[in-house]
């Protein structure tokens, strides 16, 4: 397998969420050509497998990207393209490492998945979570080849809606828009007070206002907000919804959707395999936790087995128009992951 050509080929197939079919077919073809058993599952995910054994090491990447095609170009060590870091680089790394070890005598089955829909409703991961019970899981997200991601914050989406009878502006009665603004200020103050004793962003509640609308029919006016909140470990979306409703008075606050934060343990054979593999490749391993969310939030609470996220690339380039990956970072990550998998499947 030409590992760089595999990644380049994936980048050249534009696959925003909902349009992953061609990229899935391409990856399945590449996995088959490398000698893995590969197919498309019922959710539309690309799946490849090798090795024997009752237990599974699951490599769960995602093949969809955010919208916005970036022409695939190579500038020295830099490979530009939508999904280079989020997360076709990590997914290609998974496929390449599985191809490298497929002919070894593996004590566990290794399954590589290119899941669909991670940037949307995570429908690929929701299918996977009910279908597998892996012994070890590696989520394909960029952390740089020397860094292991232990956890992700949760997230929740809310709407706020307030109504007021129209009054002449000279009455100085609070308008619906003023009520909405005052509510948002209370949310920000509540979060700031809760975060005061939490210096780490991972432990903080982080609300962001994403939309504001207002309307009037001549008798009543309405104002609505749409906002998201990044959740720290220990704060469930339902508990947050109660707190936010308590700040809203007679206005209506609705929890649209939410996923909890997850932080994995670092004292297990999976993490130890990565620490040793990164050192063996000449690197200095470190850990990180992320302020975003990933498919780890979906599958980890269900499986309850050791899990990390790993993959080449600079995650600060996620979702940006400058998305690119260093080929040298990618190749080193393939080597480190190959070594970790060899240990886990010895």
């Amino acid at each position: 397998m030409d590992e760089v050509a595999l990644l380049t080929g994936l980048l050249e197939i534009y696959s925003p969420s909902g349009q992953e079919g061609a990229a899935v077919e391409y990856l399945v073809g590449q996995l088959r050509a490398a000698g893995l058993d590969a197919d498309v599952d019922a959710a539309g995910n690309a799946v490849g497998a090798c090795g024997q054994g009752a237990e599974t090491v699951l490599l769960l990447g995602h093949i969809d990207t955010v919208p916005g095609f970036i022409p695939v170009t190579r500038d020295g060590d830099r490979l530009n393209g939508r999904g280079a870091v989020d997360a076709k680089g990590p997914l290609a790394c998974f496929a390449a490492a599985a191809a490298r070890i497929r002919s070894l005598a593996l004590s566990r089955r290794v399954v590589v998945i290119g899941a669909v829909g991670e940037e949307g409703d995570s429908r690929g991961a929701h299918f996977v979570k009910d279908y597998y019970r892996p012994a070890f899981t590696i989520i394909g997200e960029p952390s740089g080849w020397e860094r292991i991601t232990l956890g992700y914050k949760g997230s929740a989406w809310f709407t706020y809606q307030v109504r007021r009878a129209l009054a002449h502006t000279s009455t100085q009665a609070e308008s619906a828009c003023e009520a909405a603004v005052a509510y948002w200020n209370r949310v920000a103050e509540w979060a700031a007070a809760r975060n005061a004793a939490q210096p780490r962003v991972f432990e903080q509640v982080s609300p962001t206002l994403r939309g504001m609308t207002s309307a009037s029919d001549g008798f009543e006016e309405q104002a609505a907000l749409r906002f998201g909140v990044r959740l720290p470990p220990g704060l469930e979306a339902s508990a947050l919804a109660e707190a936010l409703a308590g700040l809203a008075g007679e206005a209506e606050v609705t929890l649209v959707e939410g996923v909890s934060a997850y932080r994995g343990d670092k004292n297990n054979p999976l993490v130890r395999a990565f620490l040793a593999a990164i050192r063996q490749a000449g690197g200095t391993p470190s850990f990180t936790v992320k302020s975003g969310t990933s498919d780890m939030n979906v599958v980890a609470p269900v499986w309850g087995t050791p899990i990390v996220a790993y993959g080449p690339g600079d995650s600060s380039l996620d979702h940006t128009p400058h998305e690119h990956i260093l080929v040298s970072d990618y190749v080193r990550a393939v080597g480190a992951l190959t070594s970790a998998l060899t240990t886990l499947c010895a």
């Binding site: 989020d86 997200e141 960029p142 952390s143 860094r147 292991i148 991601t149 232990l150 992700y152 780490r200 962003v201 991972f202 670092k266 004292n267 993490v271 130890r272 620490l275 040793a276 200095t284 391993p285 470190s286 850990f287 990180t288 936790v289 992320k290 302020s291 975003g292 969310t293 990933s294 995650s315 600060s316 996620d318």
Partner: protein, 55 residues
């Protein structure tokens, strides 16, 4: 088996640990990685933990 914490020099008594295991120093609370158990117990500061954006 015993070894000293490389951060605070406190003494740790550890039995049944394996190479790569991460333990917490009871004196200073820092994370330590068991880097060797033979011929003697050896401890180093565990890899650092950062936080950054990403999803």
């Amino acid at each position: 088996m015993s070894a000293n914490c490389p951060e605070c020099d406190g003494s740790l008594q550890l039995n049944g640990v394996i190479a790569g295991e991460i333990v917490v120093c009871p004196d200073c609370g820092v994370d330590l990685e068991v880097t060797a158990v033979t011929p003697s117990l050896a401890l180093a500061l565990a890899p650092t933990e950062a936080e950054d954006w990403g999803e």
